[in-house]
């Protein structure tokens, strides 16, 4: 068991499973277009609805833009999370994952990282469009994009905890929201704060560092909770 060769294999197997799951999920996402396109369409749609509700006044739109962008992005990612483990649960691949001799922690990391990539990256790319729709000055767009990318990572990793504990339940979607939205409070505060600081012309170091710190913590800690949640969901 503690044979040197076995130890070496353990180190390899962490990355082997992370890589295998990451690659597999990216493949699946790219073959099912909805996975990465639907959250983006959702965000654009809801931003449009907000504008219709607030009115065409550019000033008023801009003053609400930070909140709108972040709440909408958060909802879009949260809704996409319901499917994160559900298809694996239904087709039996989740069972295989839990029965793998290689560390579940890294499998989950690969899985959520793939989800982050396919939801966070389109948001990053579409951020100029968001800025255009809501009257945010173009000079702020790089910060908006960076903030959305970091933030969507936190949202994916933390939200996956909710997806993991509800995957075996019929009433998944709304329940995930009840469990996860309170945990999203820091993300929306620092994410919207980042934009607000940038708009005021203040140094954005503080909110940017907080977002990065939260992302690191989420990437390291969330897979533990997700793994525990998945094992419970499987145990029936």
């Amino acid at each position: 068991m503690t044979h040197p060769a076995a130890m070496q294999a353990d180190n390899e197997s962490m990355f082997r499973i992370l890589h295998a799951i990451f690659k597999r999920d990216l493949r699946v996402y790219f073959r099912t277009r909805g996975a990465w396109l639907n959250p983006l369409i959702f965000v654009l749609l809801v931003i449009t609805l907000f504008t219709l509700g607030i009115g065409p006044d550019a000033k008023q739109l801009a003053s609400n833009a930070t909140a709108i962008i972040w709440v909408v992005a958060l909802l879009g990612i949260m809704l996409s999370l319901d499917a994160l483990f559900r298809s694996d649960y239904e087709d039996g691949t989740l069972e295989q994952l839990l029965l793998s001799p290689r560390p579940l922690y890294f499998a989950i990391m690969g899985k959520v990282a793939a989800h982050w990539l396919v939801t966070g990256l389109p948001m990053l790319l579409a951020s100029p469009l968001f800025a255009l729709m809501l009257g945010i000055p173009i000079s702020i767009v790089p910060l908006l994009a960076l903030g959305l990318f970091l933030g969507s990572g936190i949202l994916s990793f933390v939200g996956a905890i909710g997806a993991a504990v509800t995957v075996s339940l019929q009433t998944g979607g709304l329940l995930i929201a009840l469990i996860i939205l309170p945990l999203y409070v820091p993300v929306i505060i620092f994410g919207a704060g980042l934009l607000q600081y940038a708009l005021e012309g203040w140094s954005v170091a503080a909110p940017l560092m907080m977002l990065s710190g939260l992302l690191c913590a989420a990437v390291v800690l969330a897979p533990l909770a997700i793994g525990a949640g998945l094992k419970i969901s499987m145990d029936s």
């Binding site: 933390v158 009840l178 309170p182 409070v185 704060g193 913590a217 525990a228 419970i232």
Partner: protein
């Protein structure tokens, strides 16, 4: 190695139920005595605050409920961790017993805070107060955990799933509190708080401390009440419980 027997005995619901029955009346009466005493002291004997007048007396119920509600969430998460690490059935039940009590205390802290806000700020709800806002989020955290309990048809798995969420919430709570603090200072540099540290005179503080301790005792008694119910619900078919029930309801 001193004496781990009590820890292992905790795993036995039968022993626990008997012990809880013994402790309950003492905890409940002691807690109520302290709480009623402290509240009477605070209501009738302490002079009014020079700025807020008599409305500050709401503090004696608001602050203890807020303090214990937060502590209760941590207690719930610790019980959840114990349940997960040592696979202890009783810890699951403790966790589930704390949730409704903690949620109710959070609700009370919110309501009394809102009532206190009216004479102090002229509005029932002011978002600038970071602590009330955090309290609201804590309330949502409790509701999320309880919603998860209810969603699972299997008691044991529901408890375990809720433990995971409670632990995640515990890690998050300090971050939430700090971020809400940061947020309120961003929007309102001159923060308004119910109680400035220096403004509390010691004669106002003494009944408050007593009220907090009393609330902890009452909280413990309420958790025991819920815990007894949880034990009876989940051990429904065991022989010792049937014996216990026949003795109890003679």
């Amino acid at each position: 190695m001193a004496n781990w027997q009590w820890f292992h005995r905790l795993g036995s619901p039968k022993w626990l139920l008997a012990t809880l029955d013994r402790w309950l009346p003492w905890l409940l009466s002691l807690g109520l005595l302290m709480l009623v005493g402290a509240l009477a002291w605070g209501l009738a004997f302490v002079p009014p605050d020079y700025k807020q007048g008599n409305s500050f007396r709401i503090m004696y119920i608001h602050v203890p409920t807020a303090v214990v509600a937060l502590a209760a969430y941590y207690a719930m998460a610790i019980a959840g961790a114990v349940a997960m690490i040592w696979r202890m059935k009783v810890a699951d039940m403790v966790m589930r017993a704390i949730a409704p009590v903690g949620a109710a205390l959070t609700f009370l802290a919110l309501v009394t805070g809102a009532i206190w806000g009216k004479p102090t700020w002229g509005a029932y709800w002011v978002w600038q107060d970071a602590r009330l806002t955090s309290m609201l989020i804590l309330f949502f955290l409790y509701l999320g955990v309880m919603a998860l309990y209810d969603a699972y048809s299997d008691r044991r798995n529901g408890n375990r799933a809720a433990a995971v969420v409670a632990l995640a919430g515990t890690v998050n709570i300090p971050i939430i509190y700090k971020s809400v603090d940061w947020w309120s200072s961003l929007h309102q540099p001159a923060s308004i708080k119910f109680t400035e540290q220096s403004a509390i005179a010691s004669e106002m503080l003494q009944p408050l401390l007593l009220a907090i301790i009393g609330t902890y005792f009452v909280f413990a008694a309420m958790v025991i009440l819920q815990l007894r119910l949880q034990i009876v619900l989940s051990e429904g078919r065991s022989n010792w419980l049937a014996e216990y029930a026949t003795n109890k309801l003679r």
